[in-house]
């Protein structure tokens, strides 16, 4: 238990800067040069934490102070402080690029601290793919303001007019006269700017300076290598999962074995033999065991005898009966249908009407590393070490949950396994904080694999009914969309009344959240349409493992699967090439303020060109040879969509094995337009992985359950994409990749989710093209595909 750990530099720096109980800025003012010259490696990190952990309170960093965002060090480097987190998409690198360009400092001379609630301004953490799209703007503006202030200081010191000054790599000179120059460090290194900013909220933060036009950006547009990758591959990074503190204990949760079960009793004697047992904690139906050593906590959780009373009624239908249940349920809410034209009349006059039903099961986050957090209750404060993507929300939620003043709670953000939405990283932070307060010691909570897979929040299951009307020319004149989502009591982020521990303790929000069902993002010109959405509930809504919450692009993959599959069905019904039908329907659509129509047409054309799309209707001519003689059928499918301002067109090429039903997506082509591109290579990586994540949802992922519990509990019962499923080729065409595309005001749009959205549909459309068999319900595992092929005699 005497292991020593090195803490990451950012955390050490954070700790060092919070040693002073007043504020970081005051500390900088009084002893800035001192703290900044302290070698990180020469300072015992655990001592820094021991001091920092006992300090506080932790008031909100003031986003209207320039010093909150930027510190210039005596060695002429800078540290940026931003209120975001990076789930591995390289946004941290992109933030540095954005701020470097505005500050005029070399990328290598900067560092970034993210998501520490006590020292970085509250920008909400991550979510909604808005890191660059929304939160990059105040970062750029404050960096531009710092540059402006430095130029004014330099004009005075160099006795030269502002207009004569030039800036390069944090050095200001009079024209190109190197004898008359001064560095940022000489001007302000280790001292405060003490410059007030304005802005009604953090996103509106600005000073007097304007940001640069896009064509003046130099670091933006470069594929700067991500700074977080080397420590991730050489083993030197300290992750949230690595955090250890003196006196820390290990906790494991004991979940109800049946959904909705009630705790009747605990036989504490059943674990009396376990060494280092600290405590069994129970409150309502929440149960945890705490031990000095981790392996003993795991054993205690397995061995503890708990008496649970089964629920009075089945909590949910079995997954095999889910869609029938959803179609037959009375909705808890229905939206007012979105109408255009007169769809009823249009269907009456349609030459041909096509109908289809689709369904998507519950799918999970199932992070590769189960949820974990460490909470330290030292000296009346609560510090939580977490990879939660919304650290600020975690801080606020825990303060309310524990009824502590916000100023006494802080969250230190550290790297962790992927968090694409509302995950158990929220839940576990509350559990750690609760247990830490119960025990008065630092407590580390680690979920186990079965717990993560069964109890983490799920993306909602959907059923869909679609109808389309074609005229005699094969044009789509009418469309009717009717969707149901099993999304009642949808969980929001870090809500102290709905996190799992709150539910199990019997705490309830006044009313369950109504939940969502979405209509598709449609730019297609269809003169007559009706879009209706409904939410249905399962019998058990509290203390259920089928909790719904945001999963990457929360409803997009489900809705786009149904809608873009159906567009393909209409193209097939009209015997029109599926790319051509989409181009025709886009060309006739109205323009909008994000000029989506023009960019959508460009993306669909770019995808088709990169793929080498051969125009023809689907399916291709059916092979009449026997399965044995010609076992592999090949096809291609396209799907198009947009997400807020980002447009994406994806083509999948599949091989379908007629003997086994296995679908292999051999090739993926994605044309992607998210406006201004900060880091092309980082964007490509994110787009690739977003596509493959959706491919996993297309081919493998489904949360299964019986009428008592979730039965998907590990990687055998909940399979995920593997190396052997990887396409042989993935091409990402950045449609607007040039940072100087002739529009100096080109804004950036989000890229974290758009490429995830159309893939399931593209794969289903490709399978149809290959086989003539329409798959209307993912995942397309080989047993399901083989049954469909056999039913169609393919």
């Amino acid at each position: 238990m005497s292991a020593t750990f090195e803490f990451p530099k950012a955390v050490v720096e954070a700790a060092l800067q919070t040693v002073n109980p007043t504020s970081r800025r005051d500390f900088l003012k009084s002893s800035g040069a001192l703290v900044l010259s302290v070698g990180v490696n020469s300072f015992p990190a655990s001592k820094a934490f021991a001091q920092a952990g006992g300090t506080g309170p932790y008031p909100d960093p003031d986003f209207r102070q320039l010093d909150t965002w930027i510190v210039i060090h005596p060695d002429n480097t800078a540290t940026f402080f931003v209120g975001k987190t990076d789930g591995g998409q390289g946004t941290g690198t992109a933030f540095r690029q954005l701020m470097c360009d505005e500050l005029d400092i070399a990328y290598a001379d900067t560092r970034l601290v993210m998501g520490h609630t006590d020292i970085t301004p509250d920008q909400g953490g991550s979510g909604g793919s808005d890191a660059i799209e929304r939160d990059g703007w105040p970062m750029r503006r404050v960096a531009a303001e710092a540059r402006r202030v430095l130029l004014e200081l330099a004009a005075e010191r160099l006795d030269a007019p502002l207009a004569a000054l030039e800036v390069r790599d944090a050095t200001i000179s009079v024209g190109s006269d190197s004898t008359r120059s001064i560095t940022y460090a000489q001007l302000i290194g280790g001292q405060r700017f003490d410059v007030a900013l304005t802005g009604s909220d953090v996103n509106a933060t600005r000073g007097l300076a304007d940001i640069k036009p896009v064509d003046a950006l130099r670091v933006v547009g470069q594929s700067v290598q991500r700074y977080d990758i080397p420590p991730k591959v050489d083993g030197s990074l300290t992750w949230a999962v690595d955090m250890r503190l003196p006196g820390m204990v290990h906790a494991r949760n004991v979940r109800p074995p049946l959904a909705g079960a009630t705790l009747r009793g605990i036989d504490a004697a059943s674990i009396a033999d376990i060494p280092g047992l600290v405590k069994v904690v129970s409150r309502g139906n929440y149960v945890a065991v705490v031990c000095e050593r981790e392996e003993h906590a795991m054993r205690a959780a397995r061995q503890l005898q708990v008496d649970w009373a089964p629920p009075p009624q089945a909590p949910f239908p079995a997954s095999a009966a889910l869609f029938d249940y959803m179609r037959g349920a009375t909705p808890t809410s229905s939206s007012e249908p979105i109408r255009r034209g007169n769809p009823e009349a249009a269907f009456e006059t349609a030459h041909r009407v096509i109908e289809a039903e689709y369904a998507v099961p519950f799918q999970g986050h199932t992070a590769i590393g189960p949820a974990h957090a460490l909470a330290d209750p030292s000296e009346g404060q609560m510090t939580i070490y977490s990879n939660d993507m919304k650290t600020y929300g975690l801080r606020n939620g825990v303060a309310k949950f524990l009824d502590m003043p916000r100023e006494r709670v802080r969250v230190v953000y550290m790297d962790g396994p992927q968090v694409y939405g509302r995950t158990a990283a929220d839940d576990v932070g509350f559990e750690a904080a609760f247990l830490a307060r119960e025990l008065g010691r630092p407590v580390r909570v680690q979920w186990m694999r079965d717990e993560e897979t069964a109890w983490d929040t799920k993306g909602p299951a959907y059923t869909f009914k679609l109808r389309g009307g074609l005229d005699t020319e094969g044009r789509v004149i009418a469309l009717d969309y009717d969707a149901r989502a099993a999304d009642y009591n949808h969980l929001w982020y870090n809500d102290p009344d709905t996190v799992l521990i709150a539910q199990l303790m019997g705490r309830r929000s006044a009313a369950p959240f109504a939940g969502f069902a979405s209509a598709p993002a449609v730019l297609y010109a269809v003169p007559h349409q009706r879009m209706a959405t409904h939410v249905v509930r399962l019998p058990l809504i509290w203390e259920t493992p089928l909790r719904t919450g945001n999963l990457r692009d929360p409803n997009g993959p489900q809705v786009t699967f149904a809608f873009e599959s159906f567009i393909d069905e209409l193209a097939a019904g009209a015997q029109v090439d599926p790319v051509q039908l989409r181009l025709d329907m886009l060309a006739a659509s109205p323009e909008d303020d994000r000029f989506l129509r023009a960019r959508s047409l460009a993306a669909v054309r770019a995808a088709a060109a990169a793929y080498g799309w051969d125009p023809r209707p689907s399916p291709q001519l059916r092979n009449t040879k026997s399965r044995a003689a010609d076992p592999i059928l090949t096809g291609r499918g396209i799907a198009y969509t947009y997400r807020i301002g980002t447009v994406v067109a994806t083509i999948a090429e599949v091989e379908v094995d007629r003997r086994t039903g296995r679908v292999w997506v051999k090739r993926l082509v994605c044309a992607h337009d998210c406006g201004l591109v900060v880091n092309p290579e980082g964007l490509r990586n994110t787009v690739e992985c977003g596509m493959l994540h959706a491919l996993s949802r297309a081919l493998w992922e489904e949360v299964q359950f019986d009428t008592e519990k979730v039965t998907s509990v590990d990687w055998l019962t909940h399979p995920s994409l593997r190396h052997s499923d990887t396409p042989a080729s993935i091409e990402v065409v950045i449609v607007n990749g040039d940072p100087n595309p002739g529009r100096p005001d080109l804004p950036p749009y989000g890229a974290g989710e758009a490429s995830h959205k159309p893939v399931i549909a593209a794969v289903a459309n490709a399978v149809y093209d290959a086989t003539g068999v329409r798959l209307r319900r993912p995942p397309f595992r080989k047993e399901r595909v083989l049954a469909a092929l056999q039913a169609a005699a393919v």
């Binding site: 238990m1 292991a3 020593t4 750990f5 789930g87 591995g88 998409q89 290598q225 991500r226 977080d228 990758i229 080397p230 991730k232 591959v233 050489d234 083993g235 030197s236 990074l237 992750w239 999962v241 250890r244 060494p275 050593r293 981790e294 392996e295 003993h296 199932t366 590769i368 590393g369 189960p370 790297d415 962790g416 396994p417 992927q418 680690q446 186990m448 694999r449 290579e681 980082g682 990586n685 994110t686 690739e688 992985c689 493959l692 994540h693 491919l695 996993s696 590990d714 990687w715 055998l716 995920s720 994409l721 593997r722 190396h723 052997s724 499923d725 990887t726 396409p727 042989a728 993935i730």
Partner: protein, 161 residues
């Protein structure tokens, strides 16, 4: 509890633990290592992989007391201050997203290339099949392995000339 002796990354360590404790927890909690990480505790995902005498094992299920060979973890791959070619390729190809599973990806790839320095694409897929990634970085993982193979071949050809 009993005293175990483990050889890890070239050094000898002693730990006083219950001999049934899986190796992962001894490496992380007693020796302070951070490369191998908990993913499933079931030997299904590979996130906890370490090498024992060059063979990839799942440290989350193997009792520490059963290990008698030389253990190499992610931290021990670099030699004389130089990254393992796989680690360098991971940087060159900008492979990870979150990176949590990449201990498993890299350690499994190391064991694969030690067994078979010139794997075909199919052999890479097969050899890496047990290393799961939920950010789905598989395409770049495979590209990085191919890069290492390609560069080793180029070096071998250059030295043969």
């Amino acid at each position: 509890m009993s005293l175990l002796t483990l050889r890890v990354n070239g050094a000898t360590h002693e730990a006083d633990v219950d001999p049934a404790t899986p190796l992962l927890y001894v490496l992380r909690n007693d020796l302070g290592l951070r490369g191998p990480r908990f993913g499933c505790g079931l030997a299904q995902c590979g996130t906890c992989t370490v090498l024992v005498d060059g063979a990839a094992i799942r440290s989350c299920v193997v009792p520490a007391a059963q290990i008698s060979g030389e253990i190499t973890t992610l931290e021990g791959l670099a030699k004389n201050g130089e990254l393992d070619p796989l680690q360098q390729a991971w940087i060159d190809e900008q492979v990870p997203q979150c990176g949590y599973c990449h201990n498993g990806q890299i350690m499994n790839a190391r064991a694969l290339l030690d067994r078979n320095p010139n794997p075909t694409d199919a052999e890479i897929r097969q050899g890496m099949e047990g290393a799961l990634c939920r950010c789905m970085t598989y395409y770049r993982v495979q590209a990085a392995i191919k890069r290492v193979v390609r560069e080793a071949q180029a070096r071998a050809e250059a030295s043969a000339e």
